[in-house]
Symmetry: C2
């Protein structure tokens, strides 16, 4: 990818163009937030209670707050958010298409588990980025405080029915699988980003370690929901 | 309506229960924000550009910020937001069902004109409320700064095609008509609220004056969009 693809304007006199891996990471995160907004807003409509509808709508709105931070940061780097997001629209849309919830509880598990997976991965990667980008990514990944609602609702439903628990446990595994599949597609397409992640992890064994940690945290979240 | 319908818990020792008209106003506003979020989020999906999608998503997210302020305020008054919203779900849903946009430009005009109409009306009414409710409502109605995008997009489309202009001008008139229709339904159902509005306006002539001002401001917004 040439930098001409992503640079929307000069970042200011004497400033260096940002490196492609940084732009890629900000672009994935930004489209991740924008598409999560869209899916959560749609899922909110299926809420069985007004409280649930407001809770999922609030999660959606928080994603837009993060999106705006990322957009402002990209603008400061002289990059248009639209251009930065473009390469990641297809894989992220594919993730959502393959994990469209068929029930309110699936929506809640997806919101909870999907957010957690993304946060785990990006938090590690953010540590390898220079500041101020690193700090911004950490800020964007901070828990928005809405996950307690999903925890409570899922725990209650799971405690009542073993069948619900088994189905949601499978669903949680599928979410992880689909996320890994799409992440692999992205890695296959984005050379600079992949080189950056290999460099940050140390080597291929480092990447395996990172994936292992993401999986372990996923398992912990499943336990928290009562789905292990 | 008895206060038992809306009071979710004690507001604290020695505090008076809030008057029903105040609770009604906060309830309409809250459900207005929650449903506007839902419609804007859905309309954002039809955006022809990523910039448009992000702009409408941001408008939607701002509505949730307002909703949260109203919810917190109702809780302080000892009222549950769900109960306060309940009487207004049907008329507000009916407004949105009768004004479902059939195009991106209709979505933008509705977001711009609908927000403006609601803000004009509630701003007048807020003036008659005691503080801190009055101040809160003014804050919730503050322009979220996203209307500039809608203005720019609609102005550009209208300048290019007389046919587009004529259709959107009709659409703007219909939005006003449907809003007035639903407001009348609400007034017919909610005695305390109606009495409050008549009292605040002074008399029936005062209400006529209020409606006239709302209409005048609507006309000004239509001029701004190039739709007069």
């Amino acid at each position: 990818m040439g930098m001409a693809d992503v640079v929307g304007g000069p970042a200011g006199p004497g400033s260096e163009p940002p490196d492609p891996a940084t732009v890629d990471l900000l672009g994935i995160l930004a489209y991740g937030e924008l598409s999560a907004f869209d899916r959560l807003a749609e899922d909110a409509r299926t809420a069985p209670t007004m409280t649930g509808r407001a809770a999922l709508s609030s999660m959606a709105a928080a994603e837009i707050g993060h999106y705006q931070l990322l957009e402002e940061h990209l603008v400061r780097l002289g990059v248009s958010v639209e251009q930065a997001m473009l390469p990641f629209v297809a894989p992220i849309d594919a993730y959502h298409a393959s994990t469209a919830p068929r029930s309110w509880l699936e929506s809640l598990v997806k919101a909870y588990v999907g957010d957690g997976l993304a946060a785990d991965f990006y938090r590690e990667v953010a540590g390898w980025l220079p500041d101020p980008t690193s700090g911004l990514v950490q800020r964007v990944l901070a828990d928005t405080g809405h996950s307690a609602f999903a925890e409570r609702e899922v725990q209650a439903a799971v405690a009542e029915s073993r069948q619900v628990r088994d189905r949601l446990a499978l669903w949680g595994r599928r979410l992880l699988g689909e996320a890994v599949t799409q992440a692999q597609h992205v890695m296959a397409e984005r050379d600079e980003l992949t080189a950056f992640i290999i460099g940050g992890s140390g080597d291929l064994a480092g990447i395996a370690g990172l994936l292992k940690r993401v999986q372990t945290n996923h398992g912990r979240r499943m336990v928290t929901l009562g789905l292990a």
